[in-house]
Symmetry: C2
Subunit: 456 residues, 2 copies
């Protein structure tokens, strides 16, 4: 077999890199569980008719077919899920009788999209989602909860650059447009065009608003003015009021967003900030209230790495409707980019804290016994694969980042050497403990010379 | 959307059931890491030509195609991996320059096979693999290590029925057949036919050996006698010797297997046993030495739930050969069957230890503050979704299996009630701790009235 080459869009990590991802997953899971979220995994496949209900994603779906099977009719087939929301909504409907509502779950799984690969966009990638779903109703305080839980989770990822969680509310936008006198049909079109502000200059968007949405220059100016408002506290309320637009839905949206920002403000740190950003609309997604996006400091071109919001109908079986609020962290988009740029890795390619040296093959059993004693105290370790010269065994540890090598003397006593310092002491495998910071590999960060936000 | 129905062969778990699986995965990962195995994840897809190299699995492969794409030519396409060995071998070749050998990794991921679903056989299922792979050579003591690590992992799964790890050695079988005078070509055929002993009576297999393999009655009798040898210590050596067959390869196989059994014997318990079973051959797989299978007590009809062995060439790029030894635990085969029969579940559907009651919506922030204090001490908790009557809030906790409800008095002081006993005490959220056994959900087992091995 010739040396295989990577498949574009299907990133894989080396062991030291994978350890970073494992640490992030463990931190997220731990935070979500502290907040009472139960873990769920759904199958990787869904019926195609479910996957294709949102028209604009159809091009991205991977369809499955058994090799020996006749080509499946399109509506009967199955495909790989492209997010965790569609399968979760299906899971809720399928198991509604066995779940307790409001139902809080987290889900960390791979998803697949047949998109053209580019930086931060993969064909296989991992998402970490939290959602809370109610039966018939779901109080607004759960919107606040979702934002707080994700802020807390992000703030625990201390080896990552800072985050900016941007929040807005569809009721605020829609109520504002309605207050401007824009028709119900026009509102979606205006929202779609204003959403282009991150790609087009304001004058161009204004032109489109007049030409394509058919609104007046005054309406367009106010819509654009709304989208420039950005505050880290609830002072956006006064700025919106100053635009002189009124509607009940706008009041409701302002009230919800102000509540959310005030409740999250105490969690904000220099690294993890929250801001009301009234330009955020989440494009074509069917959110009905709160919307979230998140930017990674210095990596703004990656787009939002953590998005979500409130759906009034996450799922419905015709009789019962299940409203939900959730947020989805793009784990691969966040990590793989930083790992591939060499910004993030870990200091060991193995979990081992200790390499137990082997003096000769006849005493391998003694080395195994030392390792067993260390493991009994929770210390990951491995026994040298061969009774090579000690210098070679030490290099074996060094190349893997293993910090300690254990030597057993002829009289059965032990010595342990910290190969970073060269310091060697007598030690008993039944009681020896390494310093806590050596028990697990450490995540290592290096400066990224290409960071967009930090021109040198 | 009508109520969705499950997809046959794609099992999903409810939250309390999923917790069992999470515990098993965590225990396996912890054990593997204690032994210095690094975690690796490979992409879910491989090029079809790689997946189809083993002819007999071709019918099981799921082929992928993007919905908008013209039908891909078969040799250019990609498919879902059907095990973790093929992708691992490819990963080793692709990254050989960046890995340290012997390379020890564990991998716990979903795999897919388009087989007809039946009990214990799924179309999507999770495998947990450990492998050690060397460059050019790999000492035999790693075979021992793989067996010991998996035995230790299985012995830690204390809520499962017992296991019997069955070991054999291809050198022993092949050397024995060669010593009988069977030709090199005939050996594979004899092995294939003797492997049918678990489905056919010995007389029938003897008939096939004479008719299809063309060996003599005496050769057939000895081959069948070898396959009946089964011991929990190294006494199989004497039993094989008593059959009066000799060859160097047989000696090597006997020596390796005796070493393995002796090294594993100290790890055996009443629940986790090891035995030399000279009928085990692993059918058509390309093992070259040690082979493993594992039976779950009372669920023998599931077949082997943990199999593997030694490959002299796990991977090769033409210049360098990478020998390996590994074992693969069928996590879904093991767990989903027990979960679906109701034998295994957990006592909570959420991680929460405490439900913080809400007296009225005006004091929700106070309840949030209690929850934040508890979480700061590592106690998972959630705040009641509504300020319903306390009886209703207690039932909310009960239905989820949450053991404690926290009440905040008008004067700000707190009381915590164990709703299982009704016992209620004053408590400070900054210092209160539940008993350790309440900190996490507990796995609950119930007797299986249908267990094959335990007729009532």
């Amino acid at each position: 077999m010739a040396k295989p080459t990577p498949l574009s869009g299907f990133p894989e990590l080396l062991p030291a890199q994978r350890y970073v991802e494992q640490q992030v997953v463990a931190t997220l899971a731990r935070t979500f569980e502290l907040h009472g979220f139960a873990n769920v995994e759904t199958r990787a496949v869904e019926p195609l008719d479910q996957l294709l209900r949102k028209g604009d994603t159809s091009k991205e779906v991977y369809v499955l077919r058994r090799l020996q099977e006749e080509d499946t009719a399109r509506d009967k087939g199955i495909g790989l899920h492209f997010d965790l929301t569609v399968p979760f909504a299906r899971y809720v409907l399928e198991n509604a009788g066995k779940l307790e509502f409001p139902f809080r779950r987290y889900q960390i799984q791979k998803v697949w999209r047949g998109e053209r690969p580019q930086e931060g966009r993969f064909r296989e990638f991992t998402q970490a989602d939290i959602d809370i779903v109610g039966r018939d109703t779901l109080p607004f305080h759960h919107d606040v909860e979702i934002a707080r839980v994700m802020l807390e989770a992000l703030s625990r990822l201390t080896f990552l650059p800072g985050f900016r969680l941007q929040v807005n509310n569809r009721k605020l936008i829609q109520g504002f447009y309605a207050g401007l006198g824009i028709t119900a049909e026009g509102i979606d079109e205006v929202m779609r065009l204003v959403d282009k502000l991150d790609k087009l200059p304001p004058e161009k968007v204004r032109e489109l608003l007049l030409d394509e949405a058919g609104i007046t220059g005054e309406q367009a100016d106010k819509a654009l003015a709304l989208a420039t408002i950005r505050t880290t506290d609830d002072s956006f309320v006064a700025q919106v009021r100053a635009l002189g637009v009124e509607s009940d839905l706008l009041d409701e949206g302002l009230d919800e967003l102000a509540t959310l920002v005030r409740a999250c403000a105490p969690l904000a740190t220099e690294r993890t900030r929250i801001e009301a950003d009234l330009s955020i609309a989440r494009g074509l997604d069917y959110y009905t209230g709160t919307v979230f996006e998140t930017r990674l400091d210095g990596y703004e071109s990656l787009g939002s790495i953590c998005s979500g919001g409130r759906y009034d109908a996450l799922a419905s079986d015709g009789r019962t409707t299940y409203p939900g609020v959730g947020i989805s962290l793009g784990l691969s988009r966040l990590l793989v980019t930083l790992i591939q740029r060499g910004v993030l890795t870990s200091d060991r390619s193995v979990p081992s804290v200790v390499l137990v040296a082997v003096t000769d093959e006849g005493t391998r059993a003694a080395a195994d016994a030392v390792a067993t004693a260390l493991r009994g105290n929770g210390i990951p370790c491995e026994v040298a694969p061969s009774a090579a010269k000690f210098g070679k065994q030490i290099r074996h540890a060094e190349r893997r980042g293993i910090p300690y090598v254990w030597f057993t003397q002829a009289d059965g006593s032990g010595e342990v050497k910290d190969i970073r310092s060269g310091h060697q002491v007598a030690a008993d495998p039944a009681t020896w403990q390494p310093p806590t910071q050596d028990l697990r590999p450490q995540v290592v960060t290096t400066e990224d010379s290409n960071t967009e936000g930090n021109p040198s």
